[in-house]
């Protein structure tokens, strides 16, 4: 996994977030404030611009630059949360990047989100998609899988995790204000997390 892989990951994520922007905003309208799609689209467009204007020299630089851009440009909760995840991944990642090292850095990114958002699995947040993805990656490493298969499993785990937020009652973020009324809706942050993890598989598979 070289620098180009990470740049391609962010480019694909930006493309997918734009494509699914209205859907993410609709999910947010149901239990939040109807801006998740717009904010992430704006943020990933900025990430794409930053990676084009200042091409990163390494995977670490790509992750830190993307994270910093999200923190500085997005606002809301998603900016700092996604931004910190990518920055922490970057700060933890050892090069040259192997699947095992990637999985370790991914886990560090998830922990950063948990810490900053003070969220745990089951709270109906991004964590409910990211934590299963991280576990799937770790398992794939132990089984000695190739990156493509590992990322496909992570993507499946993230998507299942996002769908599993539907019956949950939100305990963090704006949806928590709804109490019982948050039940029955997919968490928009978990949904966008699943999209971003799915981009890993897309890029590893070479179909973009």
């Amino acid at each position: 996994m070289d620098t180009a892989f990470f740049v391609a990951w962010f480019e694909d994520a930006a493309k997918v977030v734009r494509l699914r922007r209205d859907e993410l905003t609709r999910l947010d309208a149901a239990i939040g404030d109807a801006d998740h799609g717009a904010n992430l689209d704006r943020g990933f467009a900025e990430v794409r611009a930053a990676l084009t204007d200042w091409p990163p020299a390494s995977p670490v630089q790509a992750l830190v630059s993307a994270g910093t851009t999200l923190i500085r440009r997005v606002g809301g909760a998603s900016g700092p949360l996604y931004g910190s995840a990518f920055r922490q991944m970057g700060k933890t990642l050892e090069e040259p990047v192997t699947l095992a090292r990637f999985a370790g850095a991914f886990e560090a990114g998830v922990v950063a989100v948990e810490r900053l958002g003070k969220a745990a699995p089951g709270d109906k947040t991004m964590i409910d998609a990211l934590a299963p993805a991280s576990r799937a990656l770790a398992l794939a490493v132990r089984e000695g899988l190739e990156p493509l298969e590992a990322f496909e499993r992570a993507a499946r785990a993230a998507e299942e995790g996002a769908l599993a937020t539907i019956p949950m009652r939100a305990r963090k973020g704006r949806a928590s204000y709804l109490g019982e009324r948050s039940v029955g809706h997919e968490d928009p942050g978990a949904a966008s997390s699943a999209l971003i993890v799915a981009s890993l598989a897309t890029v590893a598979g070479g179909v973009s």
Binding site: T25, I31, D33, G76
Partner: protein, 326 residues
């Protein structure tokens, strides 16, 4: 939905250009609103901020006796750390800076990150969380900051203007929040320029009880009822959390799309309710102060005053949104 905008993605910037043009006492730089007069040596600086769409909060409260700077984010989206860092450094007159933060996950995260990165300035922060519609428990993000934000900004602003040190300004700001409670009722949802349609559907014969200020749905729906009953629901919720007694500061706040006449109808009912509990409205405000775009509805915020808080409330203030005594 028709909107007086040029484009959905330029609303915030366009409105700030208008604000700067209308109020020579303000300066707008890199999406931060400052007093044109700049920082005053020895005075604690007050910085607040949050998503746009709540006007006049916060930018309309920049000026003598209130804020030194406001950081408006995108609509209903907290500002980014860069704005808060710029504002904090620019308003520091050597006595430190107080961040006034409404309790929403995004606002808290971005202000925390900014405070951490401003290690060259003495920063304290106060969290405003007055909305009793949200249970303050491990199972929520905690109570939302709504109408009490105006009380905190006004009273802390008066104290800072008098030259009080940062720890005192921060303590009194927290005390104002402690003594304040709010509850909101919506007759309609609101429409963000980006979405172009209402955030939630609310039938004509229903109201949403316990709403926040971002068009998010409330705790529950109820049949539409006379203002007297809706005011009573709000006041019972407030009274059940913080018994009404003594001299009160009361804000009956419009959500952006409510005729002022209707707000006075609500105020009369709020006044009657408070008298019925043996308390007294000593100071009041009626109007659009902490809005949610074009939402119809009201919120009521009550603060239990003491002599010192009353004196600070009465102190001169000169901002686009609030002005007296000067």
């Amino acid at each position: 939905m028709k909107k007086l905008i040029n484009a959905a993605d330029s609303v915030v910037g366009d409105a700030l250009r208008g604000l700067a043009a209308a109020h020579p006492s303000l300066r707008v730089r890199d999406q931060v609103v400052y007093r044109a007069s700049g920082p005053r040596a020895g005075k604690v600086g007050l910085v607040s901020g949050g998503g746009s769409g709540h006007e006049p909060l916060h930018a309309g409260f920049v000026g003598h006796g209130m804020l030194d700077a406001a950081c408006p984010g995108e609509i209903f989206t907290s500002p980014v750390p860069d704005q808060i860092i710029d504002a904090t450094r620019a308003v520091d007159g050597g006595a430190g800076v107080l961040h006034i933060v409404k309790n929403y996950t995004g606002d808290v995260l971005n202000f925390e990150m900014a405070a951490e990165l401003c290690d060259d300035v003495d920063v304290a922060s106060v969290l405003v969380d007055d909305d009793v519609a949200v249970q303050d428990s491990l199972y929520t993000a905690g109570r939302r900051g709504t109408g009490a934000t105006l009380f905190v900004e006004k009273i802390a602003g008066a104290l800072a203007e008098e030259g009080a040190p940062l720890d005192v300004v921060a303590r009194v700001a927290a005390e104002v929040d402690d003594r304040s409670r709010s509850f909101g009722v919506a007759l309609t949802s609101c429409t963000t320029p980006a979405a172009g349609k209402p955030t939630f559907d609310l039938p004509d014969d229903r109201v949403e009880l316990g709403i926040g200020i971002h068009g998010e749905p409330g705790r529950r729906r109820a049949p539409m009822a006379p203002a007297r009953e809706l005011a009573a629901v709000a006041m019972e919720a407030v009274h059940g959390d913080l018994p009404l007694q003594g001299d009160l500061l009361v804000l009956v706040n419009g959500m952006g799309g409510t005729p002022l006449m209707e707000l006075y109808v609500v105020f009369a009912e709020v006044d009657a309710f408070i008298r019925g509990k043996g308390a007294r409205i000593a100071r009041s405000l009626v109007g659009d102060y902490v809005t949610s775009l074009d939402m119809q509805g009201f919120s009521v915020t009550v603060c239990r005053l003491d002599d010192e808080l009353t004196r600070l409330w009465d102190a001169p203030v000169e901002t686009p949104g609030l002005r007296w005594g000067r």
